[in-house]
């Protein structure tokens, strides 16, 4: 038996433009029931049916875990990606029916922490919206440091400041404001846990700085879903099901496998959970690994691939699927 996600039928109840790049989407269950309770940091996978193809993208839940009448997510428009965010921005309207997965949490709070120190960059703010609601409801000790390009792109900074006042610190690039990371990391009481969500470069910078400052690995939590990248089309043989498939330019390998009627397990579709790990039987060519799950050696070995985010270039690829 493999773990997997369950599906929920929802209706889009509201679409709210938040700023020039971000829209917020509200979902309720079509049967009018409450949605499943979740924990701060959880995501859902949203199915986007775009004519003949289906994309599935993960988005962090940002509504309060204490209120499950609706779920909300925020989507930043990405004009160069594979089109998932454009679909959400251009095609999704109130009243539309959609399918989402049950929530899955791969970025949960460590409730042992004496204090939660959160660092967000840009749209990476969304899981913290839910986590701060959860902690505030339980008198939790937290502090949020939020970096953004401009005041207008400081998505939800006003909401957070209104709710939590001085616990929210904002740094605007265009004002020359910089997150004083080293100082911040040096002044935290023992038992503090650090959470980071934002662009890859920021995550790496904070993790490195924290490691150098003596923060043990178990106190540093980060969420970075890789987005599947578009790339050259390639052909794959699926040995178990005996199928030949072609992965198109805008498709992920996982989506192509699903389009062939096979239902492999997944949780995150962002290269972090490990669920979709697939054995390579033989290959002639190069892997374009893009996940955060397999080790460097495993990437080198040519024996495994994470089809949710990784691609292939070359003559032939045979997978155990």
């Amino acid at each position: 038996m493999s773990a997997g996600t369950r599906k929920i039928d929802v209706i889009v109840t509201d679409v709210v433009p938040v700023n020039e790049l971000v829209k917020r989407f509200h979902f309720q269950r079509t049967d009018g029931q409450l949605l499943p309770t979740f924990s701060g940091g959880a995501h859902v996978v949203v199915e986007m049916r775009d004519d003949d193809r289906t994309r599935l993208n993960p988005y962090s839940l940002m509504s309060s875990p204490l209120d499950t009448r609706d779920y909300t997510i925020s989507v930043r428009r990405d004009d160069t990606g594979r089109g998932g965010s454009l679909f959400m921005h251009q095609r999704v309207n109130p009243g539309m029916r959609m399918v989402i997965s049950s929530p899955v949490n791969l970025f949960s709070l460590d409730l042992r922490a004496r204090k939660h120190l959160m660092i967000a960059g840009g749209i990476g703010i969304t899981p913290f919206m839910a986590q701060t609601s959860q902690l505030a409801g339980d008198a939790g000790n937290f502090e949020l440091h939020y970096t953004c390009r401009t005041e207008t792109l400081a998505t939800y900074a006003d909401v957070l400041k209104g709710r939590y006042g001085r616990r929210i610190h904002l740094y605007r690039d265009d004002q020359g404001e910089r997150l004083p990371l080293e100082q911040l990391l040096a002044s935290q009481p023992l038992g503090t846990h650090l959470y980071i969500c934002g662009p890859a470069g920021m995550i790496e910078w904070v993790r490195r700085t924290a490691a150098e400052a003596g923060w043990p690995d178990d106190t540093v939590h980060f969420e970075h879903f890789a987005a599947p990248q578009p790339g050259k089309p390639f052909d794959v043989t699926l040995a178990i099901s005996g199928k030949q498939i072609r992965v198109s330019e805008q498709q992920s390998l996982l989506e192509a496998i699903e389009a062939a009627g096979i239902d492999p397990p997944y949780l995150c579709r962002g290269g972090v959970c490990g669920q979709c790990e697939t054995k390579v039987i033989s290959y002639d060519g190069n892997f374009l690994h893009n996940d955060h799950w397999l080790s460097e050696e495993e990437h080198q070995s040519g024996r495994k691939i994470m089809p949710c985010v990784s691609r292939f270039e070359g003559k032939s690829l045979v997978l155990e699927r």
């Binding site: 990391l185 040096a186 002044s187 935290q188 009481p189 023992l190 038992g191 003596g214 043990p216």
Partner: protein
């Protein structure tokens, strides 16, 4: 060296310098030698940010001068582990992230100092440990919950309730103790000879 028997039995490593802003060492008896060995490989000025707490016990007095000569920012010498623990707890309560902890010496010392560190919010996996010296165990009697210190024999009589205990390798970090279970519960007339095996 302590042999790995079952997975709850702690394994100890060799102290090595970690990145960090401050360094707290807690050692007893031969544990001092582990600090001195590690000092051979530490970067210049490492001990300028260090605090060393040392309980020489019977066998560690020779090391005191050598440890002091590392010139740590603070040095404390205590008569027993029990006497040093309140000071350790206070040090941890006021510490900041960036502190690294190094424990060396007997299992009893490592276990109890780790217990204090865990209570202060430290995860055991981030603590450096090195076992030196005595293999004597702290044993919790699973029946009366009393802890018997410095157990060197198998079986051992619980110093609280008097039951004859089999000392298992099953170890609790939270209690900093091995588990002791009545050895003759099924037949109280059996009374196996105690052998000195944890030394």
């Amino acid at each position: 060296m302590t042999a790995k028997t079952i997975l709850s039995r702690p394994v100890y490593g060799t102290l090595s310098p970690q990145p960090g802003r401050n360094h707290l060492f807690v050692a007893d008896a031969e544990g001092a030698a582990a600090i001195l060995d590690m000092a051979k490989a530490t970067p210049e000025g490492f001990f300028a940010d260090a605090h060393i707490m040392f309980v020489p016990d019977d066998t560690g007095t020779n090391y005191v001068e050598a440890v002091k000569s590392l010139q740590p920012a603070r040095f404390y010498q205590g008569p027993t582990i029990a006497a040093a623990l309140p000071r350790l707890r206070q040090t941890l309560a006021t510490a900041h992230m960036g502190l690294r902890i190094y424990l060396a010496g007997s299992e009893g010392l490592i276990g109890q100092a780790m217990q204090a560190a865990m209570e202060a919010g430290f995860d055991p996996s981030s603590i450096q440990t090195e076992h030196r010296g005595s293999l004597a165990r702290r044993v919790q009697c699973v029946h009366c919950k009393g802890i018997t210190e410095n157990v060197t024999t198998q079986p051992v009589t619980c110093s609280h309730c008097g039951l004859l205990l089999l000392v298992r390798d099953h170890y609790s970090r939270r209690l900093a103790a091995f588990q002791g279970v009545c050895i003759n519960a099924e037949d109280p007339t059996e009374s196996p000879q105690a052998e000195e095996i944890f030394r």
